[in-house]
Symmetry: C2
Subunit: 325 residues, 2 copies
């Protein structure tokens, strides 16, 4: 008998990751296809379809593909569209779910990547028994998925949970969104790079960072430099964690989660970012919330959470429809 799986798809600017995921979160097959280089979006979707079909034919085991979940920048759960995603080639609003369902003829759901990550954590990671938690993804920017009463919240228009653009600092750094002081200008791979250079300007201390141009600095190096005791790297993490924790305290005052998960490249820095974030969050929390909310790395940090999250999205929908009858 064929094993029931879903197709999880994570659309990034350069590559689209795909995986066949069963109900327990096991990935039976994963691969990637380029996101760019197609004349039309239909050709891109055809390429995914061809790739998945070829792979299914080559695999020894027999699979039944029940649905498709997609995590994409600016993916809107309600409309099934990808809306004005700045790092994708398709402009304006793309009716992605409609195009996918035409091609694959199975139920498809889309959401943004951070919401997908929250769902992945809930179904397959460290949030299996949690009804109220927060997922923060630290990549080039800062994404967030808010889980309330056991559901990712989408709000009135599908756009709830854009914590990358809450005010981290009055009259702060310029953000790509047109505003100033947004959280992701401080707390993200790009944000901590900016902080390293801010510190190089402020301080006189010796640091190997003085030999590296802005355009070449990778966040991974900042962690390595902190490990080796570089004072600028350590201070950059402290400043980043301080601002993250201060903003998290405000998010707690909104939804009162039981736990906060961090995912993404910067989350791999572990204690360097988590310790100052915790300290700052506690200092900025109302007394009623203190000493009960943990900040932890995602349990899926070493796995393909984006594909697992996209798979979780469609599993959740399929299970609901089962219950509804």
């Amino acid at each position: 008998m064929a094993l029931e799986v879903v197709l999880g798809i994570d659309i990034g600017g350069t590559f689209t990751k795909i995986g066949l995921v069963d109900r327990s979160g096991e990935i039976h097959f994963e691969d990637e296809v380029p996101t760019t280089g197609y004349d039309t979006i239909e050709q891109y979707i055809e390429a995914i379809h061809q790739h998945v079909t070829d792979c299914l034919n080559q695999l020894e085991a027999s699979f039944h593909m029940a649905g498709i979940g997609v995590g994409a920048p600016n993916g809107n759960y309600y409309t099934g569209c990808i809306e004005n995603a700045t790092n994708l080639a398709w402009k304006g609003t793309v009716e992605f779910v409609k195009l996918m369902e035409n091609q694959f003829q199975i139920p498809t759901v889309v959401t943004n990547d951070a919401n997908a990550a929250a769902l992945g954590e809930m179904l397959f990671g460290g949030a299996k028994d949690l009804n109220n938690f927060l997922m923060i993804t630290l990549g080039t920017g800062l994404g967030s998925g808010l889980v309330v009463n056991g559901d990712v919240i989408y709000g009135n228009d599908g756009h709830a949970g854009e914590l990358g653009h809450i005010r981290a600092s009055d009259n702060g750094r310029q953000c790509g969104c047109g505003k100033r002081g947004c959280l992701e200008t401080y707390v993200s791979a790009t944000g901590i790079k900016r902080t390293v250079f801010e510190l190089l300007a402020e301080e006189n201390v010796e640091s190997d960072f003085r030999k590296i141009p802005f355009s070449k600095l990778k966040p991974k190096l900042i962690t390595a430099m902190a490990e080796s005791g570089d004072p600028i790297a350590i201070k950059a993490f402290e400043r980043t964690g301080f601002l993250l924790g201060r903003s998290l305290a405000d998010t707690v005052a909104h939804i009162s989660p039981s736990k906060i998960f961090l995912f993404g490249g910067l989350a791999k820095a572990g204690k360097w970012i988590i310790d100052p974030a915790k300290k700052s969050m506690e200092a900025h929390l109302l007394p009623i919330y203190r000493n009960k909310i943990d900040i932890v790395p995602s349990a899926l940090l070493k796995k393909n959470i984006a594909v697992l999250g996209a798979a979780a999205l469609i599993w959740k929908k399929l299970d609901r429809e089962d219950i509804a009858g």
Copy 2:
């Protein structure tokens, strides 16, 4: 046949308002009893019980009381307790629901006053068809009720929605909670008073406010002075609205509501507070949220929203239990 009603109770520091409310939101009887002056909380509850019983006996119509909803400072929906309410005489944690059910022998639910106001708006006011909205109550402090997917959210511990204590300003005014810069130190009856005095210090302009000591200034007077063209009053509203709007933009980035309702004394100032708040919120919103979220006064501004909200709380619970079987 007896008309089915619930008892709505709003516990304030000085008076406890009570009302018999039917399913349509009509108040058939309302009154108040003192909150203070009892040796024990049991005596206070007995006094309410006696008062309600007497009234029911005197009323001509026949009522069947199906349940009791209570809005109270620090009322916890999950535990049924009133927890460390600073402006009530009872210290520590009071098992309010248990005590009420012992006395009245009917189902009782408690929540905080702002959550009750949100429920009142949803069942009987301007939010009847809204699944995602925000209620801000502007009294001595700032309270909030967040409605997501058609439910007031309580979070992990019953304490979700404490927007009075999000950071309105870096290193700002001292707050009663022990932190600095909390939204309610700027946006509340007390907050705008502080702003009037801040402006009197900053500016040289003539103003009748110079004749009034801090302890005597009532927020109502600030509205009256704005109406009569006093420059300090107008500027105080502008500054208050600016900070309210800026913080609301961050709340929108959390839950993406379709509408924001204002309730309480300061909400009665209408355009004086709403116009600058709208302008500031729009300026601080991410583009995807702009020009679609309205800030409006509660539709129940002239009614007893606190009692209606408490009644809505228990109606919602009774209706759910009906559905559940």
